[in-house]
C-alpha cells in the first residue's frame, strides 16, 4: 500500500472541535509533500491554524475549496503515498516554515512602509494569507528576496493602524471555545486543589548569573525552568500526564506541556511544547520563543493545539500569588505558578528576604488523590530550586 491514495482529512484540533473552515491551500495538485509539511490553513474557534500532512507523497486531488466549512474527519485532499520528496516539496516546505532567526546585526535605518506603483511584491502564500486575514499588503515591509513580502512578514505585523486587534485570531470565537471547554471541565472533572510555597531565590540567582553572560537572544526565562521541572516530575508521577477518555485514564507516553498563553484583548490558548522532558533549557527556550509570537499572531500548528498532555499556567511578573485553575479536558491536571514575590522567609533558621513562588495543582480526583498530588507538587518544588540540574 506504499503507493496507494490516502485521504488527508480535517483534523480534530481539540476535543471540543466539531468542524473547521478551510481558509487556504499552501499546495496544489501534483505538489510533492513530506510528512510534517504545512499544507493548509484551517479556521477554527481557536483561530487560524496551520495543518500538517502525515504522509510523504504527492497531492493527487483537492476535495475541499477555500471558504468551505466541513466536519472533523471530512477528506480535504487525496495524497498519493510513497512519492519521494523532491526539490519541489522542499520549496513548498521552505515557503511555509517559520523564517530563520535573523543575524543580530544592527539594521541601518527605519524603512518607511513601501508603497510601489501597481502590484506589491509578495509570495502567493503571503498574498493568500493577507487576504484571509484582511491585511493590506501595501503597508507591510517585505523581508524576502528583493524585498518581497513572505508569510512571516504578515503575521505579527501591524495591520492598518485603524484596525487595532490581533491578527488571525477571532477573540470572540476563541472566548466561546474556552467557555465551552471550561464549563464542560467543571461539570465533569472532580477537581481537587493543592497549594505549596517555595523559595526560588537560588533559581532566580542562577538565571541572573546565566543570563548576565548572554545576549538577549540567548537568555532564559523562569517559565522554561518551571515547565522542565513539571515535565521531569511527571516521569515519577505519570498519573498526572495523559487523558481521561471513555471512563478511564490513558497515561501518555510523551510529555507535551501545554503552556497557557494570554492573548492581548482577552484570548487564551494553551499550545503544546513537545517532549519537554527531553529538551535542555536552551532548546526549550528556543521553542518557546518560536511558539509564543506565533500563537499570539494566530499561526499555530494543528498538532500543537491538540495534543498537550498537561497544562502549565504561569502568572508571570505582574500577576498575583496563586491561581486555582480549570483543567483542560481531556487532560487530568493543571499546574499553576503564581507571581514570584519577595517575602520574609526562614533559611537555616534565620529570617531573610527571599523570592517565593506559590505552586498549585488542580487535578482530576477520578485519576489521582491528594496524597499523590502532594508528592508530585513537592517534587516540582524541589526541581525548580535546582535549575542547574534540569
Amino acid at each position: 500500500m506504499t503507493d496507494g491514495l490516502v485521504d488527508f482529512t480535517m483534523p480534530s484540533l481539540g476535543s471540543d472541535m466539531e468542524a473547521g473552515t478551510l481558509v487556504e491551500w499552501l499546495v496544489r495538485p501534483r505538489d510533492k509533500v513530506k510528512r510534517g509539511d504545512i499544507v493548509a490553513v484551517v479556521e477554527t474557534q481557536k483561530g487560524a491554524i496551520e495543518i500538517e500532512v502525515f504522509e510523504d507523497g504527492e497531492i493527487a486531488e483537492i476535495l475541499v475549496e477555500p471558504g468551505q466549512k466541513v466536519p472533523v474527519g471530512t477528506p480535504l485532499a487525496r495524497v498519493r503515498k510513497g512519492v519521494p520528496a523532491s526539490a519541489a516539496a522542499e520549496a513548498v516546505a521552505a515557503a511555509a516554515a517559520p523564517p530563520p532567526p535573523r543575524a543580530p546585526a544592527p539594521e541601518p535605518k527605519v524603512v518607511a512602509p513601501r508603497r510601489k506603483e501597481g502590484r506589491v511584491l509578495a509570495s502567493p502564500a503571503a498574498r493568500e494569507l493577507a487576504r484571509s486575514l484582511g491585511v493590506d499588503l501595501a503597508k507591510i515591509e517585505g523581508s524576502g528576496p528583493g524585498g518581497a513580502i513572505v508569510r512571516a512578514d504578515i503575521v505579527g505585523r501591524a495591520t492598518a493602524p485603524e484596525e487595532k486587534k490581533p491578527i488571525g485570531l477571532d477573540l470572540a470565537a476563541m472566548r466561546e471555545a474556552i467557555s465551552a471547554a471550561m464549563a464542560r471541565s467543571k461539570r465533569e472533572i472532580p477537581h481537587y486543589y493543592l497549594q505549596h510555597q517555595i523559595d526560588v531565590t537560588p533559581s532566580e540567582e542562577w538565571l541572573a548569573r546565566t543570563n548576565a553572560g548572554r545576549q538577549p537572544a540567548d537568555r532564559l526565562l523562569f517559565a522554561v525552568v518551571a515547565m522542565k521541572a513539571v515535565a521531569l516530575a511527571l516521569k515519577r508521577f505519570p498519573q498526572f500526564n495523559g487523558f481521561w477518555r471513555e471512563g478511564k485514564f490513558e497515561p501518555a507516553a510523551a510529555v507535551h506541556v501545554g503552556l497557557a498563553i494570554a492573548i492581548r484583548g482577552g484570548g487564551l490558548a494553551a499550545p503544546a511544547l513537545h517532549d519537554v522532558d527531553r529538551l535542555s533549557l536552551d532548546e526549550l527556550m528556543t521553542r518557546l520563543r518560536d511558539l509564543v509570537p506565533r500563537m499570539r499572531a494566530g499561526r499555530i500548528r494543528g498538532s500543537e493545539m491538540a495534543d498537550a498532555t498537561i497544562t502549565v499556567s504561569s502568572l508571570g511578573e505582574r500577576g498575583v500569588e496563586a491561581l486555582f485553575g480549570v483543567i483542560y479536558p481531556p487532560q487530568v491536571a493543571l499546574v499553576g505558578f503564581g507571581t514570584i514575590v519577595r517575602r520574609p522567609w526562614l533559611t537555616e533558621n534565620e529570617v531573610r528576604a527571599r523570592s517565593v513562588v506559590t505552586i498549585t495543582l488542580a487535578a482530576d480526583h477520578r485519576v489521582s488523590d491528594g496524597h499523590a498530588g502532594a508528592l508530585f507538587l513537592d517534587e516540582i518544588g524541589k526541581l525548580v530550586q535546582e535549575p542547574e540540574k534540569l
Binding site: 505585523r157 487595532k164 543570563n211 538577549p216 537572544a217 508571570g316 511578573e317
Partner: protein, 81 residues
C-alpha cells in the same frame, strides 16, 4: 543615530510586540508593562529586537531603566552616544 531615529525604532519594535495597541497615545512616563500588557516574554523579545536593530546589548539588570518610554529613550540615547 539621532533621537528621532532611536524613537522611531523603539516604537516600531514596541509595535511589533503589541501590534493591537495605539502607541500614538502612549504616555512617556507610563509603565510599559502595564500600559501595553507586556509580559516577560514580550520584554525579552523587545530587548532582543533592540539588540538586533541598534546593536545595544541591554543586560537584565538595566531592564528597569527602560520601563517607560522616556527612560528607554534616554537609556538608548546614552548607550548610542
Amino acid at each position: 543615530m539621532n533621537e528621532t531615529e532611536i524613537r522611531a525604532i523603539f516604537l516600531q519594535e514596541l509595535g511589533n510586540i503589541a501590534p493591537e495597541m495605539d502607541l500614538q497615545r502612549l504616555d512617556a512616563y507610563a509603565d510599559l508593562r502595564e500600559a501595553l500588557d507586556i509580559d516577560s516574554m514580550d520584554l525579552l523579545n523587545l530587548m532582543t529586537a533592540l539588540h538586533r536593530r541598534l546593536g545595544v546589548n541591554i543586560p537584565e539588570l538595566d531592564y528597569p531603566k527602560l520601563m517607560n518610554l522616556d527612560g528607554a529613550l534616554r537609556y538608548l540615547g546614552d548607550r548610542l552616544k
